[in-house]
Amino acid sequence: MGRFIVIRLAGMLVTLLALALALFTLYQWLPGDPIENLAGGSRRDQEAAFDPKLYAQRYAIFAGRYAMDRPYFYFSLVPGGMPGAFLRLSNHRQRSVFKSWYRQLGDADLVRSWVEELERLSASDQDMRVVNLARSASLQTSLGASIRQFRQLPEDLLQASEIKPLLDRLEVRLQSRQWLGLSLRWHGADNQFHQWVRGLWTGDFGRSMHDGRPVSAKIKEALAWTTSINGLAMLLAFLIAVPLGVYLAAFAKPGVARWVQFLLYAAYAIPVFWMATLLVVLFTSDTYGMNWLPSVTVSYGYEQGSAFQRIFRHLGQLLIPVLTLILTSLAYLTRQMEKSLHQQLEAPYLATARVWGMSRRRRIWSYAVPNALFPIITLLGSLFPLAIAGSVTLEFICNIPGMGRLLLDSILTKDWPVLFYTTLLIGGLTLIGIFLADLLYALLDPRVRQSGFA
């Protein structure tokens, strides 16, 4: 058993680190720049004048504050001779463009000259075609394409821009370009990935890029809602599904069983968002004369009153989402239980018990049902992630500020710290869920214990 636990825990750690790495890599590919918004870049088209110099200063400050001005990983594999400063540019887009230019030219001074020239022209009083070209060239990785575009300018504009000598130098360099080789740069712990994963063992997840609140506080609030709803729904669903499955498999008349199954499948066939909407629209207002359920919004005054009143209000708030989850998952669980019990009831050991004169009730409740529960346990592992991740649609319809909404909001607002740790938390808890299910499995089945794998 010890070996089993060690193997499982080691596997979990590796999986979690791989998830962190995958998340970090994916994030680098996401479009958009969260620092730009923090530094006020999104106000360029607003009515008050925008100050590019002030913006550049602030960009650098915020990039430093969120460790965005550091190399990405513990090491970098870069073209030979590339200056380290290119790996520490605070603007990620600029970083990748500079690296690409260096890869094409292999001459850091020439890259700097190109950058300075483009900056000069972008802010100059030259013809707008020159200015526009300089601005678009500063974002373009292909130097060949930029040079071609400059060459297509009318000769007088090209002469006036005084960029021609530099274009000639760039072209010569591009034509004589050689393989620069690769060099490995070691950055130690001074890198972005390390800063992020460090929060996993220090417990300090930092602050949200969106509203500056502690990430841990935001996750804690959302987790409380999601776990209470999904936890309660799971518990109740199991409590209903198991006896219902037993009833359908062992006691129900065929006609009754068919009707129950039909109703269960009908509920199962309704999508979660539709079921929730139906419950909200039909049963929370007087519109259809069935104002039987409490409102889905968490209203002011919610936390006031006695403990009993607060619990009552809290349960009222959870009623519709919990009911929705139960109704939509009941068919699946009940069917699993029913099928499993059917298999047990047809097993030879129960035929033997019957021959020995054991009562039907005892055969079912003492032997068949415990064994039939075995596959249900494994379902716990697969349902646990659902309980943590929450359902985005359900949380929107029922206005619950849970994990699903937190995750979606963090994606839409590019709130990287919240997104990173929320996803890792969901991943981590999913692994724990699977681990616990496996552990239960192993406790019940000696074959699993011996092999170390479920």
């Binding site: 923090l38 006020g40 870049g41 008050a48 925008f50 200063q57 500056g212």
Partner: protein
């Protein structure tokens, strides 16, 4: 210069809005205590004015933190709040700022913060300087203060502040007085910013200051960023203060006990704050908001989608329980075109696009008639709106004619018009960026796409997952066309930032890259216009020039829609979001 603008602006607006404005009856009895619950789609990011950048943030913050003066939400008259009065400035005759516009602002003797401390010139100075903290970047206040030359507290009078503004800045009065003051003693108790001059903060490099490594400056910046949004940390001068904020659920404002404004009997909306509590209920989904309205969880719900609004109105018995309000919105929708793009550089092509856009279909089909057509960046009700300009009709013949005139023909018979540009044959293919979250924006683009295809222009939809990325691409000029919206100032409009070619050249604005010498000349002239009647005329000329050049396709001004309990009285406001919460009253009273 400001005097003429103000007089003209106020008098004209009073005429225009007097018909719409419906004020609380003087005979109305205000109940001792009542609460109003308003549905908002999202919560504010921060309640500190310098850290707040969203529209819902402005909606809430304006009742906690007051500016020195503000536009009346119902008639747009410029009214003094914290100051005893505001003149239109005078020209400085001596000293370092000779020739600049000077304002002497006297803070009301009664005015105090919600913690009882007096509001002084030190608070004004702190707010101006704090705008230059990096954390304030989101609000854009530092750029707003770019034309501010100097601010000084009076040596003898702690409530008197002297302000100098560039002599030719047309919005000087608003710059001096229209921003929310913050208490220095709460947010900078050590008075860290006193050590820095305004000019140092505006241009630290020239003054040899490295703010990125300045420990005291950075510490203050971070402390402001980390202010917890709890009642004790939110100290303002307005009629309300924060009572409770449950993140993503609700935010509660309560009336400040013994509020200083109650001692001043002024007949304007600002000094009448009726509800004792305003609850902002966060409900992102509109259907849920409507349900919450029906079950009584909210009293007033802002509705974004006209179809939801109309469907609710048609529900049996809905009009018995609810009132359906709407207001003019100071937001105009338009299709932005990159005027520096090789194809759209030609005004004829842009005009052809305007002829291809069926704006009436947008109004009738997409907005259920709840929008007004516009041909410029002014509100159609505004005195500056040029009513002589007729909206460009949908006309495929005129569109094709403009295209042909611009040299676009389908020479290779592939169904798309083409033209030789800079020695290369270019097919007329125009990607249009739309927000993937906005079905309205996508449908507007589809209408244009369908019509443009009839004249051989291939419009390709380019959905962008989030608005921030869409904004970033527009700001960096990486777009061809995009469905957008904008909010012009409710006061006198300075078109320089958005429409002057120098703004594009300096990369300080004009993100569509519109460069037109005639338009520049009009803008330069109107910014220095001394004669009020001439100013109106020049605004009309400016709009006519935009109309001629069609740098963007102006579409509509959507109505702000709201539904509220019928036993409440909710007056439509001219300012966003269309309601003024402190003016809401129970109807039966």
């Amino acid at each position: 210069m400001n005097k003429r603008h103000s007089l003209l602006f106020c008098s004209l607006l009073l005429i225009f809005f007097s018909g719409n404005s419906c004020r609380k009856s003087e005979n109305t009895t205000v109940p001792d205590a009542f609460r109003v619950t308003v549905r908002v789609q999202d919560e504010p990011i921060s309640l500190l004015p310098l850290l707040s950048s969203t529209s819902v943030g402005s909606q809430v913050v304006r009742h906690i933190f007051w500016p020195g003066a503000e536009f009346d939400p119902f008639d747009l008259t410029y009214r003094t709040l914290l100051y005893t009065g505001i003149d239109n400035g005078s020209m400085e005759t001596e000293g370092p700022w000779k020739g600049a516009q000077r304002f002497d602002l006297q803070i009301r003797p009664e005015a105090t913060w919600s913690d009882g401390e007096p509001i002084t010139a030190a608070d004004y100075l702190f707010t101006v300087k704090a705008a230059f903290l990096p954390v304030s970047a989101v609000s854009g206040f530092a750029s707003f203060f770019g034309n501010l030359l100097d601010v000084q507290a009076d040596a003898q009078n702690a409530r008197l502040v002297h302000v100098w503004i560039k002599h030719d800045y047309m919005l000087a009065r608003e710059l001096a007085s229209n921003f929310n003051l913050m208490p220095r003693h709460v947010y900078d108790p050590e008075d860290v910013l006193a050590a820095y001059g305004l000019s140092q903060l505006k241009d630290p490099q020239s003054s040899g200051l490295d703010l990125a490594t300045d420990a005291a400056f950075q510490a203050l910046d971070q402390s402001l960023q980390l202010v917890d949004m709890t009642p004790e940390n939110i100290v303002g001068s307005g009629p309300y203060t924060l009572a409770q904020w449950e993140s993503k659920q609700y935010l509660v404002l309560k009336k400040v006990e013994d509020w200083w404004g109650d001692k001043i009997r002024q007949d304007d909306a600002f000094f009448h704050a009726y509800p004792t509590e305003i609850v902002y209920q966060v409900i992102p989904d509109e259907q849920v908001a409507l349900t919450a309205l029906k079950d009584g969880s909210v009293d007033v719900a802002m509705i974004a989608r006209p179809d939801n609004y109309l469907a609710m109105e048609q529900e049996p018995g809905a009009t018995d329980r609810f009132a359906f309000g709407h207001a003019s919105n100071s937001v105009y929708m338009y299709i932005g075109m990159n005027n520096q793009h090789p194809i759209l550089r030609d005004p004829l092509v842009r005009r052809a696009m305007s002829y291809s856009m069926d704006v009436d279909q947008v109004i009738t089909t997409l907005m259920n008639g709840l929008a007004e057509r516009t041909v410029g960046p002014f509100m159609p009700g505004s005195p500056y709106y040029n009513t002589d300009l007729q909206p460009i009709p949908l006309s495929m013949e005129e569109a094709l004619k403009a295209l042909n005139e611009a040299g676009w023909t389908d020479s290779n018979r592939d169904g798309t018009v083409d033209k030789m540009i800079d020695g290369q044959r270019v097919e007329c293919i125009l990607p249009i960026m739309v927000s993937a979250n906005s079905s309205l924006g996508q449908n507007v683009a589809l209408i244009l796409k369908d019509n443009a295809a009839k004249i051989g222009v291939n419009i390709e939809l380019d959905p962008i997952a989030d608005n921030a990325t869409l904004r970033q691409r527009i700001n960096s000029g990486e777009f061809v066309m995009a469905t957008l919206s904008n909010s012009p100032s409710v006061g006198i409009y300075d078109p320089y930032q958005s429409w002057h070619s120098q703004s594009y050249r300096d990369q300080t604005g004009n993100v569509i890259g519109f460069t037109d010498p005639e338009c520049d000349a009009i803008i330069d002239s109107l910014r220095h216009e001394e004669n009020p009647a001439e100013l109106v005329e020049e605004y009309h000329q400016f709009q006519a020039e935009l109309y001629r050049e069609q740098p963007v396709i102006f579409l509509v001004i959507p109505e702000v829609l709201f539904i509220y309990r019928k036993d409440y009285k909710v007056q439509p406001a001219v300012v966003k979001p269309g309601i003024w919460e402190p003016s809401i009253l129970p109807e039966q009273l």
